[in-house]
């Protein structure tokens, strides 16, 4: 691009109105994005009265609440992404390769999940699996139990389940796109040569879907690391993630430096994952 401009340059050297077009978007980005980010980064080094305090950074990074939240965040995000990959893969394989009437409709229905606010799914989950939800009241009635028998929802696994439900479409979509490009001739030839379905999935279909899995998977990681609504809505005791911790410190405790230190870590984690995503997507030609 820039080379092409340079070659064309001599004839239009006087003024290059094309180059000025970078100013409005750059200014907008700076104002809306980089400046606030810089403010957060700066705040991380200043205590709440505005005095530089680097020791606080070390204290926070070594604190139990931070490490706990970091571990929770990573655990939930990795588990949810793995869950999304497995569920997405199975669903995509069925939707793409097992012909049944209405598979297109189902795929589109799952797609619309992307349009819904994430915490709504969580709300639905509490109706279903919550302590007063349909599953528990049904079980209590059926077996005349005094207490709700199912309470996985208010735990790390509840959060993971909700996130898997919400974010699987983000894997499913690229996978379906990748699968639609797999040459049926390859699958059929493999089958004629003696490969059973499982081998065909492993050796013919999956290699074609690796870029989509990596792209979708890192997108999932990114989204689940930053997930706020679901974790808040489920409100499981002790399940505090980085975004939730930032919210708590900033809004509930007014501990702005602590909030900003954690925010910087959160941002670094996100950018790192995003870099990974771009790298993987670029290398694999996704």
């Amino acid at each position: 691009m820039s080379e092409a401009l340079a070659i064309g340059a001599p004839t239009v050297r006087k003024r290059e109105p094309g180059r000025l077009w970078i100013v409005p978007p750059a200014a907008l980005l700076a104002l809306l994005f980089f400046y606030p980010l810089a403010l957060i980064a700066r705040q991380a080094f200043l205590d709440d009265s505005g005095v530089a305090n680097v020791a606080e950074i070390i204290r926070v990074l070594n604190s139990r609440f931070f490490l706990n939240a970091l571990v929770n965040t990573v655990t939930i995000s990795v588990a949810a992404t793995a869950g999304c990959l497995i569920v997405g893969l199975v669903l995509a394989l069925i939707l793409a390769f097992v012909p049944f009437p209405g598979s297109g409709f189902i795929a589109r229905l799952i797609d619309t999940f992307i349009a819904l606010p994430t915490f709504l799914v969580t709300l639905a989950f509490t109706f279903l699996y919550g302590s007063a939800g349909m599953l528990n009241s049904g079980l209590m009635e059926a077996f005349s139990l005094p207490l709700p028998p199912v309470d996985f929802l208010y735990s790390t696994w509840g959060v993971v389940l909700a996130e898997v439900t919400v974010y699987t479409p983000f894997i499913l979509r690229p996978l379906l796109a990748a699968f639609s490009l797999v040459d049926r001739g390859q699958i059929e030839t493999a089958s004629v040569l003696g490969a059973r379905p499982f081998r065909i999935v492993r050796q013919v279909i999956l290699p074609a879907a690796v870029p989509a899995m990596i792209a979708g998977g890192s997108l999932c990681l990114l989204l689940t690391v930053n997930e706020f609504g679901i974790v808040l809505f489920i409100g499981a005791k002790g399940v505090i993630t980085l975004p939730l911790l930032i919210y708590g410190k900033a809004i509930q405790e007014s501990a702005y430096q602590v909030a900003c230190i954690i925010a910087v870590v959160n941002i670094a984690l996100s950018l790192g994952l995003f870099g990974l995503y771009r790298f993987a997507a670029g290398r694999l030609g996704a």
């Binding site: 001739g185 059929e188 493999a190 089958s191 004629v192 040569l193 003696g194 059973r196």
Partner: protein
């Protein structure tokens, strides 16, 4: 349709077949296929003998691929059975049928090296390592691709990819090789070479039974021992290649397999002991190879364009006269189009008299009775 000769293989034959990679027969026993209510293959009975190349040709949509896919196991017959050798494979999944297949777009596995593509079937069938190595080497050598083992498919030309696809199919020592328009993605020059190579390949693997689906009559004529011509989901003729070409049983076959001039005639006298009948075209009486026509029958006299000559000799005893309409020079061949009593007649000649008649001139044409064939007038299937 030829008589059904079902050659069941004994167990010993099959073992021998495995060792040599030799073929079995393929038997379609009243196989029909329908998509929903749409019947695309009407009950088909056809036997492909062990080691035979059967070319299935016909216009687009006539059901060739469907028949091949029924053998492979991708479409379930609505009725009928398919047997390969002694095995009834109708209810077997594709991976248990012991076949090899090559399709139009090669369908190589893009993320595997050539050698792994070729090894795929053997690995899938659980062959042990030394055997795989040996077979892969063999198969690649057979198609002349031994030096390309470490390449990826994307690093090969179309013709090379097709060779690898053939090697991949041969490596499993299939009982039957299914080829669905294997050359149609290649350009004309490479296609001609590949046809010759497949012919050579079959000479080195004489036991291999091949079902070869194609649009291309040249491929069929060059390669096939027998040809089945498909039309609207039915076999409209089936027989040894040269016989089908020389004595087409119906108009569709005559016109589909090579070019044909079909002169409408009325039979004067049915075929005698030597097989020749006489028939009248206008007021000219012609002699041609007959079947079971009787005097008075309306019939068509089939003459191939290359069998018409502008000069008479002792063999070219039939004579018709036409008005020259067009002359097309094509280098090796010159095509003339004449009008013989309202029927367009095409002549292909390698050598012509130096003084070529002008369009509009009346030109006599000569042909030998042995180069003709009478076929029924209402010969549509």
């Amino acid at each position: 349709m030829s008589a059904v000769t079902f050659t069941g293989n004994s167990v010993m034959d099959i073992d021998a077949a495995k060792v040599r990679g030799a073929g079995s027969n393929v038997y379609f026993d009243k196989v029909s296929v329908a998509y929903g209510t749409h019947v695309v293959l009407h009950p088909l009975t056809l036997d492909i003998a062990p080691g035979e190349i059967l070319a299935m040709i016909g216009p687009s949509g006539s059901g060739k691929t469907t028949a091949l896919r029924a053998v492979a196991g991708f479409v379930r017959p609505a009725s009928g059975r398919i047997r390969i050798g002694a095995t009834d494979v109708t209810d077997l999944p594709p991976y248990e049928r012991g076949l090899g297949m090559v399709v139009q777009n090669y369908a190589l596995f893009p993320h595997m090296r050539v050698e792994d593509n070729v090894a795929f079937g053997l690995r899938a069938q659980g062959a042990d390592k030394p055997l795989i190595g040996e077979r892969v080497k063999d198969a690649l050598a057979t198609v002349g691709m031994a030096t390309f083992a470490r390449r990826y498919p994307r690093e090969l030309s179309g013709g090379q990819q097709q060779r690898v696809a053939i090697a991949r199919a041969l490596a499993v020592r299939p009982r039957v090789l299914l080829l669905d328009e294997p050359l149609s993605a290649l350009d004309a020059q490479i296609r001609r070479n590949m046809v010759e190579e497949i012919a050579r390949l079959h000479r080195s693997l004489p036991g291999l039974t091949i079902l070869y689906v194609t649009h291309d009559q040249t491929e069929a004529l060059t390669l096939a021992d027998k040809i089945a011509i498909m039309r609207d989901g039915r076999v409209c003729s089936h027989g040894p290649t040269t016989e089908l070409y020389r004595r087409p049983p119906n108009r569709f076959t005559a016109e589909f397999l090579g070019r044909a001039n079909l002169l409408p005639v009325t039979v004067v006298e049915g075929a005698g002991p030597k097989g020749f009948a006489t028939a009248r075209h206008g007021d000219v009486v012609l002699t041609g190879a007959g079947r079971d026509e009787r005097a008075g029958d309306k019939s068509l006299l089939c003459i191939r364009p290359q069998h018409l000559s502008l000069t008479a000799d002792s063999e070219h005893t039939n004579r018709i006269v036409g008005t020259l309409r067009e002359v097309h020079w094509q280098g090796e061949l010159t095509h003339l189009v004449l009008d013989v009593g309202g029927t367009p007649v095409r002549v292909s000649a390698t050598k012509l008299p130096t003084a070529l008649p002008e369009p509009g001139a009346r030109v006599p044409l000569f042909f030998a009775p042995t180069d003709t064939s009478l076929l029924p007038e209402d010969a549509g299937v």
